[in-house]
């Protein structure tokens, strides 16, 4: 059963990844070229029909996979790097500093991720793929930092850490040999879950017009554009919606499978 979720997750994410990579080399049509009739239904030339500007819809949804994965992975990397560094450092800091940091994180986390991301986008001059990654990544880093801080504190409270410090282990080596290996499995699962949330956040930002600007065909943008013509061309809503669900569901399955695989509690239990 556990293996099943992991496999299903790998399958769904792998499929999206393959499509996303494929778009670098090939799409059925140029996603930006207005080559068909407006809102033409699915046909042999345009498998998923065309949008209201006559662009091939399937090509756009395929490019959407690339954007979703790019922003999701970029934001997760950024959020993970910033969050883990800050969290571990905070756990080492003197008490007052650490308390202040924890309070600041709690305040940040109290803001909805999307709102925080919108603030970052609003503060930057133009919306682009980069700002979307930055916005979602920074919002995510608060959540990761809080988790990393707590996990690090738990490791630091262990006797073997005290014994190692007493035998002259430096902070840098302590981090590398004991802290990171013990906190990374849990963080990996949290990051995988955050990856799924980042994909949704990217679609939401794009839907609100705060994501990657046209001609980047983000799924959120596609959904927003198809909204007004949903009765004439329902596939314009169904296809990007399904794509989004398949990727996020796949990522969540993957996170679940990873948790079962990496859970240190279950592995270390006697």
């Amino acid at each position: 059963m556990k293996r099943l979720t992991l496999r299903l997750g790998l399958l769904l994410v792998g499929f999206n990844l393959a499509v996303g990579l494929l778009t670098f080399f090939w799409t059925p049509h140029d996603p930006g070229a207005m080559i068909g009739g407006r809102l033409s239904p699915p046909s042999w030339t345009h498998w998923a029909g065309t949008d209201r500007l006559g662009r091939d819809f399937l090509s756009q949804v395929m490019v959407g996979a690339r954007i979703a994965l790019l922003v999701g992975a970029g934001a997760t990397l950024l959020g993970g790097a910033v969050g883990i560094s800050l969290g571990v450092l905070a756990a080492y800091a003197r008490r007052g500093l650490d308390d202040a940091f924890a309070a600041a994180l709690d305040i940040l986390i109290a803001f909805p991720t999307l709102l925080l991301a919108m603030l970052v986008v609003a503060a930057s001059e133009t919306a682009s793929l980069g700002t979307a990654i930055l916005a979602i990544g920074l919002a995510m880093s608060a959540i990761i930092a809080r988790l990393a801080r707590i996990l690090t504190k738990r490791v630091l409270a262990q006797d073997y850490v005290t014994a190692a410090r007493c035998s002259g282990l430096s902070w840098a080596r302590l981090t590398r040999t004991h802290v990171l290996p013990n906190i990374l499995p849990t963080l990996a699962v949290a990051l995988a879950a955050q990856f799924g949330l980042a994909v949704i956040a990217e679609a939401s930002l794009s839907y609100l017009g705060l994501g990657a600007p046209p001609p980047n065909a983000s799924w959120g943008t596609l959904l927003q554009q198809a909204q007004s013509t949903v009765h004439r061309a329902p596939i314009g809503v169904i296809l990007p919606g399904l794509a989004l669900v398949s990727l996020v569901l796949g990522i969540n399955f993957l996170a679940d499978g990873l948790r079962d695989l990496l859970d240190p509690e279950r592995e270390g239990a006697e």
């Binding site: 006797d159 005290t162 014994a163 007493c166 035998s167 282990l169 040999t177 013990n182």
Partner: protein, 268 residues
Amino acid sequence: MSLLEVRDLKIRAGARRLVHGVGFSLGAGERLGLVGESGSGKSLIAMSLVGLLAPGLRAEGSVKLDGREVVGRPERDLTPLRGSLAAVVFQDPRAALDPLMRIGAQMAAPIRRRARREGLSLDARALKAEMIAALERVAISEPERILAAFPHEVSGGQRQRVAIAMALSCRPRLLIADEPTTALDVATQAEILDLLDRRIREEGLALLFISHDLPVVARIADRVVVMRRGEAVEEGPTARVFARPEHDYTRGLIAAARRLEQALEGGS
């Protein structure tokens, strides 16, 4: 000059006093027992000796390790001081080793640090030989297997032996043992005590032995300090303190230990 000189040591958490002005000294090769009930501040004293109090706790007064002041010293000055002078062994053998590292990898670290401190470089084979020798010194019968094992694959007694081997592999001059036998069964307890006794005698270490268990302390320590609610109520040679206790609290402790013994004997 004594190896460890503690004078008027106070430990507080915010406004609350946990240890009020304790003092004792320990010369090279001496064995001091720190006795008292749970919460009397024994472990806090032990941690403050090496500057490893938990965050939020503050030590005041004076702790001199080999003539150098520990209290109030910044972390970076303490790190080199600790390795060469003092090592600790703790109560819980489950927490004594990193669950995600093979025992060999964990043992290698302090040995390498010591070699670097002494200006030596160890190749892989010398390192392994040294680890095996260290494990043999703590009476572990299959050192090769233990080195390749993860902590959860060996027994509690063996883990405690590994922890002792690691503590001794730094070649410290003072060993701080914080209830090292409390979490073990009686037979293993006796083995570990014998082992500690032998290693300390052979390597000429000073020992600070912390325990609530009077018979155990009587076996291993030459002198005892009896702690109660953060204060030292009595100090003296072990034999004298246990035979003719001067303080009421000490008398109470000894009577309680005796009653427990009688109850156990009567019941069996």
